[in-house]
């Protein structure tokens, strides 16, 4: 198929500062990536903390700090720098209401 869907791939990369970011619409799907380490329901797994049910602004602040190398971590800085502010906002909004 000469895919019109390819047009949907334009990347909203790094457009706005995190505080003013409009959430991306695909938060629930993006948040799926967290579950491989943070456990089913993002409820935590062994030494990896629960991230579900935490206030969205807190999650955004932490991810933003990881992204800026302001918060020490083992791998979260490398991960956070892979997501736009809009995506971080959307994931945080989803996780905040997930239980």
């Amino acid at each position: 198929m000469p895919s019109p869907r390819r047009l949907t791939l334009a990347l909203p990369l790094l457009l706005a500062g995190p505080a003013f970011a409009q959430p991306a619409t695909n938060g629930p799907l993006l948040a799926q990536a967290c579950l491989g380490c943070h456990g089913p329901g993002a409820a935590g797994q062994d030494g990896v903390p629960a991230i579900a049910g935490r206030p969205a602004p807190e999650l955004v602040a932490q991810m933003t700090a990881f992204r800026a190398n302001e918060r020490p971590g083992t791998i979260m800085g490398r991960i956070a720098r892979g997501y736009t502010a809009e995506e971080i906002t959307a994931v945080a909004a989803y996780l905040a209401q997930a239980r």
């Binding site: 895919s3 390819r6 799907l29 797994q45 062994d46 991960i79």
Partner: protein, 426 residues
């Protein structure tokens, strides 16, 4: 979402509304998933939980799935095979129809598949995650019979290969030589051979400290190379010799009877234990269904994972062509979810979810309480021809003296294993 994507989406939707399978099925649509490993189990579980209107069937011959991940720790003696084996009761309890059989053939036109046991099954959409095949014709001297002497332990099956290699390493004569033959790219789990070297070394350091590991490689560089080599020098000084392709490291023939590897320039290397990781391709079913190209792997649409050769069949996991993403369990799990969401959308006549992000973290254990990792965050590229890694992100653990980081990463690796296997089978 930006203006551009919103407009593009509206434009895209009408084109995709053709022939929704749902209309005929009154709320039920049949998703069949082939392969109950990292991609397939993740897909079946996610489909069942997120889209309850889908009828999900999972076809997998084995009743217990032995993971490749943590198989290297079985070699080290720090895990037992039972601890890395998983059954399908959890998926059954979620309402997935689990069928233990082989798929013998696929008819993309009729949207049906044939099981080895004789039954025929129809589907509205098919997700295929059959993993890899070892290419028994690619390395002279190395066929299935040879793997009883020089185990590959790269496709665990019921676990016999891993158990065989473990026994051989335990029985290694004092001061003996373990040889590894490592293939060129692409292959399953780029850091896997080097984690294996480390875990064999961990065992030998304790039980056979004068033994040697000779690792022959068809490449000149490998994943997390600096970190692995730093750790080898620190933890196992003098034990490991890695021979790159440009120093005659490419093994071109093996002789299990004589227990010899032969490298490109004709040099013969005597080994006491030989672990041969042969060249690979997509699993047979993908090739026989005509989904692979001449490379032996399956080209896919980076948004929906539909095979370029057969829309309606979504191919995820190691079988597909997705560089720069590695052939890893985490990538299989992450892409499974976008494939399922695409299946659900397409069955409803909607556009597949736009702007996905695919995620990978591969931890490697290199010693006791010593873990390292590589992270990758990927997206479809703008022209839809493949995938790109997100700039300025991901990468490997820092080099240098970071004992706390190494200890934590070993701990988090264990949490990853527990977490992801629950996300597959729980």
């Amino acid at each position: 979402m930006t203006q551009t994507t919103r407009r593009a989406l509206l434009g895209a939707a009408p084109a995709l509304i053709a022939a929704p399978a749902l209309a005929q099925n009154q709320g039920q649509a049949r998703l069949v998933v082939v392969g109950g490993g990292f991609g397939g189990a993740s897909a079946a579980r996610f489909a069942r939980m997120s889209y309850p209107w889908l009828e999900v069937t999972l076809i997998e011959p084995k009743t217990r799935f032995v993971t490749c991940p943590y198989g290297n720790l079985v070699l080290a003696g720090t895990r037992r095979l039972e601890q890395i084996s998983h059954g399908y009761d959890g998926l059954r309890a979620r309402g997935i129809n689990v069928v233990h059989d082989w798929v013998a053939g696929i008819d993309p036109t009729a949207r049906s598949l044939r099981l080895r046991g004789g039954a025929t099954l129809s589907y509205d959409r098919l997700i295929l995650s059959p993993g890899i095949a070892l290419r028994w014709d690619a390395l002279p001297g190395y066929d299935e019979a040879a793997s009883e002497i020089f185990p590959h332990a790269w496709v665990p099956g019921e676990g016999a290969q891993t158990t065989l290699l473990r026994r051989q390493i335990e029985a290694l004569p004092e001061g003996g030589v373990v040889g590894l033959a490592i293939p060129a790219n692409p292959f399953r789990c780029p850091p896997g051979p080097y984690e294996r070297i480390s875990m064999i070394a961990a065992h030998l350091k304790r039980h056979n400290p004068r033994a040697k590991i000779l690792a022959f490689d068809a490449k000149n560089a490998f994943s997390k190379q600096g970190l692995f080599q730093d750790a080898w020098a620190e933890l196992y000084p003098g034990m490991i010799e890695w021979v790159p392709a440009n120093q005659d490291g490419r093994i071109t023939r093996v002789d299990p009877g004589a227990r010899e590897f032969e490298s490109e320039f004709g040099t013969r290397h005597k080994v006491d234990v030989g672990n041969v990781i042969p060249p690979q391709s997509a699993a047979r079913i993908a090739i026989e269904a005509g989904l692979a190209n001449a490379s032996g792997w399956v080209p896919v649409d980076p948004l929906t994972f539909e095979a370029r050769q057969a829309p309606g069949i979504h191919v995820i996991g190691d079988a597909n062509i997705a560089p720069p993403m590695p052939k890893s369990g985490y990538v299989a799990n992450s892409t499974a979810k976008q494939a399922v969401a695409s299946v659900a959308a397409l069955l409803r006549g909607e556009a597949p979810p736009p702007a996905p992000v695919y995620f990978n973290t591969c931890y490697s254990h290199v010693g006791e309480d010593y873990g390292i990792s590589i992270v990758g965050v990927f997206r479809p590229n703008p022209d839809g021809s493949g995938f790109v890694e997100t700039p300025q992100s991901g990468g490997v653990s820092p080099r240098g003296n970071h004992p706390e980081q190494r200890r934590l990463e070993a701990l988090y690796a264990d949490a990853w294993y527990a977490s992801i296997t629950r996300d597959m089978f729980g």
